[in-house]
């Protein structure tokens, strides 16, 4: 095994030893009826890093992310932003704290156009009194949407196409573009490249790097270990709703990660 996972005592220390966490989950418990999806999960995001959150299917990654972004209220435990405990009772609170999220289920409105989805909740209004009446500036939004999608190498028929008519990868591109446009502090990406083509995936990873270089923090959920090792600075592993391990990314191998995810140090995968 390439790296020893650090102790699971929940103390938040930057593995590189720098700074306070910008976003943190401590002992979060989340139940759905009789299913306990999170059972005291800890998670830490430091400034200007790419941290990968990995774990087996059903480990609780998406649930953890939803508590971090205000979609679910945790049943126990707390969320901290810049060291201060916060209560995100709605996704708006998280957004106001600069946390932007791409959800695994995408959360796009099928009947609305690509442009409308990109600007949903943040519409550009006309200037002047008409704008104060809530009049939309469609042209500006179409322009902005086209630019943003171009940057990500997304190829869609037109920004006025309803989302319902897009291919799986195109839908995901729109969701990723939306988060990336608006993020100011932390971007959380729940399997953002699962449906993307090779080129689009590379573009997203580029954007992630640039975001980090610009001082933002990025949380990346992915099942693609080579991708994780390529882009992440740090890796946190979730297993059965709890943090199972933390690694600096430059000191681990895929096998270490798989072992931590499945909880079997004797179990090896022949995965590349």
């Amino acid at each position: 095994m390439g790296a020893a996972p650090d102790t699971k005592d929940g103390t938040a220390q930057h593995p590189d030893g720098t700074g306070e966490p910008v976003l943190e989950a401590r002992g979060v418990v989340k139940r759905f009826g009789h299913v306990e999806a999170l059972r005291g999960a800890d998670f830490t995001v430091y400034k200007a890093e790419v941290v990968a959150l990995i774990g087996d299917n059903g480990a609780g990654k998406s649930t953890l992310i939803k508590t971090l972004s205000g979609v679910h209220a945790p049943d126990e435990g707390e969320i901290r932003v810049d060291g201060r405990p916060v209560r995100f009772s709605t996704p708006v609170d998280a957004r106001q704290a600069g946390v932007e999220t791409v959800y695994q289920d995408l959360a796009v409105a099928d009947d609305l156009s690509v442009a409308a989805n990109l600007y949903l909740g943040r519409e550009i209004l006309r200037s002047g009194p008409l704008g104060r009446l809530g009049l939309l500036d469609r042209r500006a939004m179409h322009r902005g949407a086209a630019q943003a999608l171009d940057q990500l190498g997304v190829r869609i028929p037109r920004v006025t196409t309803p989302i319902a008519m897009l291919s799986g990868g195109q839908r995901q591109s729109v969701a990723v573009a939306r988060a990336i446009i608006w993020a100011t502090n932390v971007v959380i990406l729940d399997e953002p490249t699962a449906a993307l083509g090779v080129v689009q995936t590379e573009r997203v990873l580029d954007v992630v790097r640039r975001a980090r270089d610009a001082g933002m923090s990025v949380v990346l959920v992915s099942h693609n270990m080579p991708q994780v090792l390529e882009i992440a600075d740090r890796v946190e592993v979730l297993r059965l709703g709890r943090r199972a391990a933390r690694f600096p990314a430059d000191a681990v191998t895929t096998d270490d990660l798989v072992a931590a995810m499945t909880g079997s140090s004797n179990k090896r995968s022949e995965q590349n």
């Binding site: 996704p91 409105a109 009947d111 609305l112 949903l120």
Partner: protein, 334 residues
């Protein structure tokens, strides 16, 4: 590194933007086609049909339904439904009439009161749907029952009569020779079409109906917005109730029974989907007039109510069938 955005779907011929626009409008066009066919047929069948008087009559007769149907359309777009429109219109009408008769309010003040009554009912609906999260069907079914009960309680189940002549202006007055009710309908329709298609408010309305969870995660204030939608709808229902009362110069406790079916039918014939996210005001207007013209034509031709019911049913089926048929063809063949 720039990518040439070249793509199967991009290589559309130049006329395609126009075709897309057209296809967006086609849903209404189907109903509109049905309407036009009907109008032409009736013009031949009855010499009285295509007269200014009759058309104004139809317009004024349909005003209330059309106004309330625009409200219903907005609610339906949010994936909601408002069954309480009939009761609330009756409540607004009798309260407005009582305000004039018993409190000496002017017609305009009474209209404001009626709209206020509608707004209050809408607020109840909105809070039940958004805060208490009761399904709209049940929330507004309750309001329908409670509203009608209140009408009976405050009127003692007796119509509100003995209103001054001026009370009729809203429903029977004219402005520049055009029935006031028609002018009001046009103003409401334009306003609602603008609100839904051009403003952020409208965008949120479609977003909520299309995917509530996505709307929530996008930071749209669901509770506030849904409440506002029902309140605005209620205000229009209140206005409609007042026009209805004005047209018959009295507050009628029994007004609007089964009205919800007519207005929902108008919206759906016009292309709205009860599963949310879809619907347009122009379509709804066409739907409302389609029903109204069928009924008008039936009376002009002295078709007995028995056959009228059969005919109305057949035409509703036909209008929506052709719409569905066209959409399927469009989807699968271009």
């Amino acid at each position: 590194m720039t990518t040439t955005v070249e793509h199967a779907a991009d290589a559309t011929r130049p006329g395609d933007r126009v075709r897309e626009r057209l296809s967006n409008a086609l849903s209404e066009l189907t109903a509109a086609t049905a309407l036009i066919v009907l109008i032409v047929a009736l013009s031949f069948a009855s010499p009285h049909f295509l007269t200014a008087d009759n058309l104004f009559n139809i317009g004024a007769q349909t005003a209330v339904i059309a106004i309330i149907a625009t409200a219903q359309t907005m609610v339906i777009i949010t994936k909601g439904i408002d069954l309480s429109v009939g009761s609330v219109a009756a409540l607004a009408g009798v309260v407005g009439a009582m305000a004039v008769r018993d409190l000496g309010f002017s017609l305009w003040a009474a209209t404001a009161v009626a709209i206020g009554v509608g707004a209050a009912a809408g607020l109840v609906n909105g809070l039940l749907v958004s805060v208490a999260r009761i399904p709209p069907f049940i929330a507004t079914l309750g309001t329908m029952s409670v509203g009608r009960g209140l009408v009976f309680i405050i009127t003692g189940a007796v119509g509100v009569y003995s209103l001054p002549e001026s009370f009729q202006i809203l429903g029977n007055g004219e402005i520049l020779g055009i029935p006031f009710a028609i002018v009001l309908t046009a103003v409401v329709a334009v306003g609602m079409a603008f609100l839904l298609s051009q403003t952020r408010f409208g965008r949120y309305t479609y977003a909520i109906g299309s995917n509530l969870e996505a709307a929530r995660r996008s930071g749209i204030p669901i509770v506030g917005h849904l409440t506002a939608v029902y309140v605005i709808a209620g205000m229009l229902v209140g206005l409609g109730g007042m026009i209805a009362a004005s047209r018959v110069n009295s507050g009628q406790p029994n007004y609007g029974i089964a009205l919800e079916l007519d207005v929902i039918a108008a919206a759906v014939i016009g292309g709205a989907s009860l599963f949310g996210g879809q619907g347009r005001i122009i379509g709804t207007l066409i739907g409302a007039f389609l029903i109204a013209v069928v009924r008008n034509g039936a009376v002009l031709m002295d078709v007995s109510i028995h056959y009228q019911m059969v005919i109305v049913g057949l035409i509703i089926w036909a209008a929506v069938y052709f719409d569905q048929y066209r959409r399927r063809r469009l989807e699968s063949r271009g």
